[in-house]
């Protein structure tokens, strides 16, 4: 329990540090927002009035605390370009990106775990070799390349889905999820291959240890040793990988979204980078950071659940 509290405290400190770092670097680089919003032709009086209204004349730390407070309340400022609250620009898009990342994560597990377990159990067999070679190849295919090939093969040739005909989750949740299947496959493939390889390696390493031999000597069969003894220990390195995967899938979905015309945060984040629309970039990055740091906390807690020794330290 102390471990969980300690990790939660570390997480909050990390979040504060990340938010301070991001806010200050964006403030230092972004120049004067009032000039950005009114244009260079604005009179000094109007600029000054807007600066006062936006609170830009306060000290940096004061502005940081104010921004953080409003970010926590779900209102991280106003876009320079669209003149709309950032929350309304990003709010509807974040669930889309999250859904894509989570669906890819589910697919990664669904394919990676059975493949890893099977190849570990029958290590050295013909199928094991074939899967391991395939793995090596799949790991080398970047998701956007896989995405284009999938979109062409399953969309244009086989007509299993229509690329570009995105359905909003507000219209129909099942059809929304249905549209995400193929993008998720593109995103999940290399991860699933990595997972299978990692799990296979971890199980094989555990299988050489003394406790595995002892388990056999007590009359367990292969499945009994594998599922009853090896898997729990082999799962620890896999857990770290899964946590990082979820974070990377989130970043990867930014890339895949643009291929399949999915209106997640990718398009607005990229156009904001092009327009130097800093409030939007800052908010989007900060939301992703919160998500990633929360995943890390979850992984740490799961670690302690699986390996109670950690809590005692």
């Amino acid at each position: 329990m102390r471990y969980v509290l300690k990790k939660t405290a570390t997480m909050l400190i990390t979040l504060l540090a990340v938010s301070l770092f991001l806010f200050v670097s964006f403030q230092l680089i972004s120049g004067d927002p009032a000039t950005r919003m009114l244009g260079t032709g604005a009179t000094p009086e109007r600029l000054e009035a807007l600066r006062e209204e936006l609170g830009l004349n306060d000290a940096l730390l004061v502005r940081y605390v104010r921004w953080l407070a409003s970010f926590v309340r779900g209102d991280p400022g106003i876009s320079y370009v669209y003149r709309q609250p950032v929350a309304s620009l990003l709010g509807a898009k974040i669930p889309v990106t999250l859904a894509l990342a989570l669906m890819s994560f589910a697919l990664t597990c669904l394919v990676g775990f059975p493949a890893g377990l099977y190849t570990a159990k029958y290590a050295g067999s013909a199928l094991d070799r074939i899967v391991m070679v395939l793995n090596q190849a799949i790991m080398a295919v970047p998701p956007f390349f896989a995405g284009i090939l999938i979109s062409w093969a399953f969309g244009t040739v086989l007509r299993l889905f229509s690329p570009g005909a995105y359905v909003s989750y507000e219209t129909s949740v099942p059809r929304f999820l249905g549209y995400l299947v193929f993008p998720s496959i593109a995103l999940a493939l290399p991860r699933a291959a990595q997972l299978a390889k990692l799990l296979r390696g971890a199980i094989l390493e555990e299988s050489g240890k003394n406790y595995a031999r002892t388990a056999y000597s007590r009359g367990n069969n292969t499945d009994g040793v594998l599922f009853g003894h090896l898997l729990k220990n082999a799962f620890l390195p896999v857990l770290t990988f899964l946590g990082m995967s979820l974070a990377n899938l989130l970043a990867g979905s930014l890339i895949v979204e643009s291929i399949f015309n999915i209106p997640g945060i990718s398009s607005i984040l990229l156009s904001s980078i092009g327009n130097r629309d800093y409030p939007v970039i800052l908010a989007a990055v900060m939301w992703i950071a919160v998500f990633i740091i929360a995943i890390n906390l979850l992984v740490d807690i799961l670690y302690a659940v699986l390996d109670p020794r950690i809590d005692g330290e």
Partner: protein
């Protein structure tokens, strides 16, 4: 007494590796791509940015991989784009591995409070996907190849720091280090002359993995239009531009795509060849 000089095959070391077959396969593919890039330095079939009226041509004798929507020769653009990818990946490794080794060596060797603080920062940095970190840097500094190399380089520091640090913690209490100390070796000498060579094996396999991740990150970022700016070719950008007419000119997507796949595959094959765990793959 002078040692007897014998001429040795410089590639003989391959046979001593855990898996020479895989390493040779990977090295061969890498050599082919490097050759393509080196040829591109002195000669390319066409200027990679030169547009022509021959738009969206298929494979022909004058355009081996066809032309894109603006009539630019795809082979020349692949050659140029591969160069950018290699430069970014190598630059990323120089920055990431260079700083990573220095920080890892210092924190692992000295430990203490500074080690704690630096490693917490590294943990925070490590948690962030490298693509996201590069996006932040580019949005702050503007889009260019150099900014991308720095962004990715910094993103790769923690992975090297972690490995090198744990190796230094393991090595610093070993007998050979004590021995060197007794002979009066300075800290710097112990760190760089005595311990570093013993870390090189671990470092090498991490470089292979890191290089691949850098190639994939560069490809993904340039696909999003970040990094090397048009009209100059980058592999990701080419794929992004050509996906709309994939059906008409498949080579415009497949050409740059296959270079990325082969480059990553070749390095992971070499990495497998170096791995001591012979139970992997064979």
């Amino acid at each position: 007494m002078r040692m007897k000089q014998t001429r040795r095959n410089p590639l003989a070391f391959i046979d001593t590796l855990p898996n020479p077959k895989l390493f040779r396969m990977g090295a061969l593919i890498t050599a082919a791509i490097v050759l393509l890039v080196l040829i591109g330095l002195v000669w390319m079939p066409y200027e990679p940015t030169a547009m022509s009226a021959d738009q969206m041509q298929g494979i022909s004798a004058s355009h081996l991989l066809g032309t894109d929507k603006m009539g630019r020769d795809i082979l020349s653009r692949v050659m140029y784009g591969s160069r950018i990818t290699l430069v970014v990946a190598l630059g990323t490794m120089v920055i990431g591995a260079g700083l990573g080794v220095l920080i890892g060596a210092a924190t692992g060797f000295y430990g203490g409070m500074a080690d704690e603080i630096v490693m917490r920062i590294m943990d925070g940095l490590f948690a962030f996907p490298n693509v996201l970190l590069a996006l932040v840097v580019v949005s702050l500094l503007g889009s260019s190849t150099v900014h991308m190399i720095w962004a990715l380089g910094i993103a790769f520091i923690p992975s090297f720091t972690r490995v090198v640090r744990s190796e230094y913690i393991r090595c610093k209490h070993l007998d050979y280090v004590k021995n060197a100390r007794l002979q009066g070796a300075s800290d710097a000498r112990v760190i760089f002359v005595h311990i570093l060579p013993n870390v090189s094996g671990v470092l090498l396999s991490n470089l292979m993995i890191g290089f691949n991740n850098a190639v994939l990150a560069e490809a993904g970022l340039s696909f999003l239009g970040i990094g090397s700016q048009p009209p100059y070719a980058s592999l990701g950008q080419m794929i992004s531009d050509a996906q709309a007419y994939f059906f008409e000119v498949p080579t415009a997507v497949l050409g740059p795509g296959l270079v990325i796949v082969l480059l990553v595959l070749s390095f992971s094959l070499m990495g497998e060849g170096l791995r001591s765990a012979a139970k992997e793959l064979d």
